[in-house]
Amino acid sequence: MTKTIMEIASLRKHFPIKTGLWGEPKLVRAVDDVDLTIEEGESFGLVGESGCGKTTLGKLILRLMEPTDGVVNFDGYSLFNLKKEELRRVRKDLQIVFQDPYSSLNPRMTVREIVGRPLELHGIADVNERGERILELLEKVGLSREQATRYPHEFSGGQRQRIAIARAIALNPRFITLDEPTSALDVSVQAQILNLLKQLQSELKLTYMLISHNLSVVRHLTDHVAVMYLGKIVELAKTAELFERSAHPYTKALVSAVPVPDPEVRRQRIVLKGDVASPVDVPLGCRFHTRCPYTKENCKSEEPKLQEVAPEHLVACHFSRDFYS
């Protein structure tokens, strides 16, 4: 019986932006009323295009930002109610790997310092034991012990990402947010890192939240996927179900937009009109209606709620039943 490790309810993050002396303050509704649960040990994917709020959501669940509203329960702790000391302790279990391996490592620190700092901060082991543990961690992620005294500059993108992963697993966390972990890497390096992540997950019993715009990677690595658009979840289902039987026009468009490395596969491509909308001026009614090829009257005024269209398959669209194949 799997246990829920993270529960997100009514999570909201709005950023006010000034529009000059006279303008009314506008709101960037980056994350707007998001509910989801993540089971322990699974990989949960969060996909969407720029402006959908997935990166903001990723930061909120680590409390790298304070929410405007809503609750995040991690392993029984109500994250936003924790005091500074308690939060520090809980942070041991919640780690993150960032997208850009060129800017996620302090250029002035050696590998040993980067990977060892979390251990030092949380008072884990003494100096000598720490040294040994750092070297073990490096080996675990596929780097060699000799590289501990080097600086980030001296490594390739893939190797730097390995260092970032070593840092993330140093404290034996239970949950790791992977924010576009391979987007800045070449495909051959990406494969190595994805395999490493899968291997570490089973070895260390980790739960992953994978945030990515690369749908193929998400398909490969996740058990459940949520699709976000302009701050809201528009579809949520088991991975295979979402990709093969998507029920939201946006999801269908997303999936069909991905070019496949096989010239003989002729796919029915749904090309959306217009640009990715901005979270500042969110359309009324269904947020997607301005780009949706199937917009009807009530789409412009009524916002659809997430509803089950099949067991464990939620969709926020007035006509989801028609789209569900």
């Binding site: 070449d186 490969h220 070019p259 090309v271 217009g274 640009d275």
Partner: protein, 328 residues
Amino acid sequence: MGGEDLLEVSNLETHFFSYRGVVKAVDGVFFDMKKGESLGLVGETGSGKSVTALSIMRLVPPPGKIVGGEVIFQGENLLEKSEEEMRRIRGKRISMIFQDPMTSLNPVFRVGEQLAEVFIQHQKLDKKEAEKKSVDLLRSVGIPDPDRRAKQFPHQLSGGMRQRAMIAMALASRPDLLIADEPTTALDVTIQAQILELIKELRREVGTSMLLITHNLGVVAETCDRIAIMYAGGIIELAKAVNLFKNPLHPYTQGLLDCIPRIDAPKKRLAVISGLVPDLIQPPPGCRFHPRCESASDRCRTEKPYLIDIGGGHWVACGRNAEDAGKP
């Protein structure tokens, strides 16, 4: 497709003279293009694909220098032309679009003005006519409300629109060759789909040939007639798109195809190409790929293989493949 030769690149060599040594970014590249076709140049970081494109345009930044080879475009060797002659070719007979439209659009000039420049420069139109044509061009690339957009600055347009504007600028003078360097890499997936459709459509209308540079095999599968795979400064396989994917011959190509996660066909485990991309200052002797190749033989370690025609327009630079095909 088919017909006359448009571009013939022979033994192109471009080196970068850095303080650490000479980086042989492009080290003996051979390929050709026919009028009207689209060729995809695929490779990972450090393969030399972008430098190849810049070499064709003679836009290699210092400390890079083209040190050898020929680039025959419509019968003329571009490497022998003067800077003034190249200036007349760029933007008119050969156009280039880049990954980040912000860097090729001047942020302090309005979009319409920049487009008009192309018409004024190359087609010698007067200002009013050029501006009208710019608006038409923006409309033709699918930018809504083109009159208003023409008066805006680049930062006021979204990424997708800027890319469209750049494509508009590139195709404004109906060039014979369009070089597109990672044109959709920085864009969202749905916008990428739009731009790829747009490029396909415009190529049909204008008849421009296209050299598409990318690391994305999905994109080339969809848009290119032929595909060339680059590794460590050289082309190691070149074939019709269908043949390349159905029957990849070079171990690197096979490795690449096996390591990509597929949205339509999930894999249990991604194959991995062991090792790292080689140092281009001191590349491995013989075949550049041999340290990472599972079927490397002694010959691979000493002899650098050349592109050999296996048949049906399928070229491979691999010692083992040459042996299999019974060629020296």
